[in-house]
């Protein structure tokens, strides 16, 4: 009986194991290799969140916050521009 349960439970876990392994390997691959793409993908959301934070202090329009990624040599530089109201 015990033995049976052992096999059952180890089988039951393979999807969870797969998920965990994938999350680790993908996080690693994202942080090296194809980095730029992932930064680009994050920009719209990041821009929205930055906008929300700044709006706690200043009244600004959406187009007053811009985010850009520039490549300088080996580095990606994240450029944030906020135009404040007069």
């Amino acid at each position: 009986m015990r033995l049976l349960e052992y096999f059952r439970s180890s089988r039951r876990n393979t999807a969870a194991v797969a998920k965990e392994r994938l999350q680790i390997v993908i996080a690693h691959e994202r942080s090296e290799g194809s980095g730029r793409g992932y930064i680009q993908r994050l920009l719209p959301k990041l821009e929205q969140e930055i906008l929300q934070v700044i709006r706690k202090y200043f009244q600004i329009e959406e187009n007053q916050v811009t985010l850009q990624v520039e490549r300088e040599g080996d580095y990606e530089v994240l450029e944030l521009n906020v135009t404040l109201p007069d």
């Binding site: 039951r12 969870a16 797969a18 993908i26 691959e29 194809s34 730029r36 793409g37 680009q40």
Partner: protein, 269 residues
């Protein structure tokens, strides 16, 4: 202005061509003027899945090279109006697809009033897959619930976001849709297959739909019928839902829980 949709995956054999055929057929069934292009130069297969292999005279590369015009190469589907197929060349290799050439063909399709252009990508992350996704506005990422397919999909997402025309021009990013195919809910339940929620968690893109593992897919391909035309099949219905959702309808997911087995089925399992 036409919308260019690439069906892509990185990994081979996950259901891109099956999906391209069903999806394009579904759009045409809804009355949208749709063209479907086979980018798998050298390994032409879309013609077989669409059931038009005996009507191929000229192909995509012939048009690019000016050996035929688009009219001569486009094959009109016999089952539905508004659907046209542009087959891949069987005798060339993928380098024959230059970006100027592909761009020219796409612009010509725009001029002819096509609303949707579905690009069936080859597997891999080489030139063929790059050129298939380069001009895309939206992408269907076809993924099987299996570790290597999920990882490869993530690679493709990186490429969509960095190597596409939209990325290069700093335009709005390509709109990504996850499509999980060959899904087996009973195996998900017993814990030996990744669940659709796991895959969306890992890849972080919205899910357009789930296609169950379904014997009708093979049967439909045997007879050259896009599976979406098999109204009674689960895969066909799931693809119909996907087209509906793509066009903005709010439809619940189906076929994502194990089928209730009848007594006899259980007996002969």
């Amino acid at each position: 202005m036409a919308t260019i949709i690439v069906v892509t995956s990185g990994k081979g054999g996950v259901g891109k061509t099956t999906t391209s055929a069903a999806f394009a057929m579904g759009l045409a069934l809804r009355g949208h003027r749709t063209a479907i292009i086979d980018f798998d130069v050298g390994l032409r297969n879309l013609d077989l899945i669409m059931g038009c292999e005996r009507r191929v005279v000229y192909d995509f590369v012939n048009v690019i090279n000016g050996e035929a015009n688009l009219n001569q190469a486009l094959i009109k589907d016999k089952r539905v109006d508004e659907l046209y197929i542009l087959p891949a060349s069987q005798t060339r290799n993928k380098d024959a697809l230059t970006s100027e050439g592909v761009n020219k063909v796409l612009s010509e399709l725009f001029e002819r009033g096509f609303e949707y252009i579905v690009c069936d990508s080859p597997a891999g992350i080489e030139h063929g897959a790059f050129i298939a996704l380069y001009f895309a506005d939206e992408a269907l990422i076809v993924t099987n619930p299996e570790v290597s397919s999920v990882r490869d999909s993530d690679r493709i997402l990186g490429i969509l976001a960095s190597k596409s025309r939209r990325a290069e021009n700093g335009a709005e990013p390509i709109k990504e849709h996850l499509l999980v195919t060959r899904y087996d809910p009973s195996r998900v339940n017993s814990g030996d297959m990744l669940a659709m929620e796991d895959i969306t968690d890992i890849l972080g893109i919205p899910i357009l739909g789930v296609i169950p593992e379904c014997p009708s897919v093979l049967q439909a391909s045997n007879s050259g019928v896009p599976v979406i035309l098999e109204d009674s099949s689960r895969a066909g219905q799931a693809y119909t839902d996907i087209v509906g959702r793509f066009l903005g309808e709010n439809l619940p997911h189906r076929f994502t829980t194990p089928e209730k087995r009848g007594f006899l089925k259980r007996l002969f399992r």
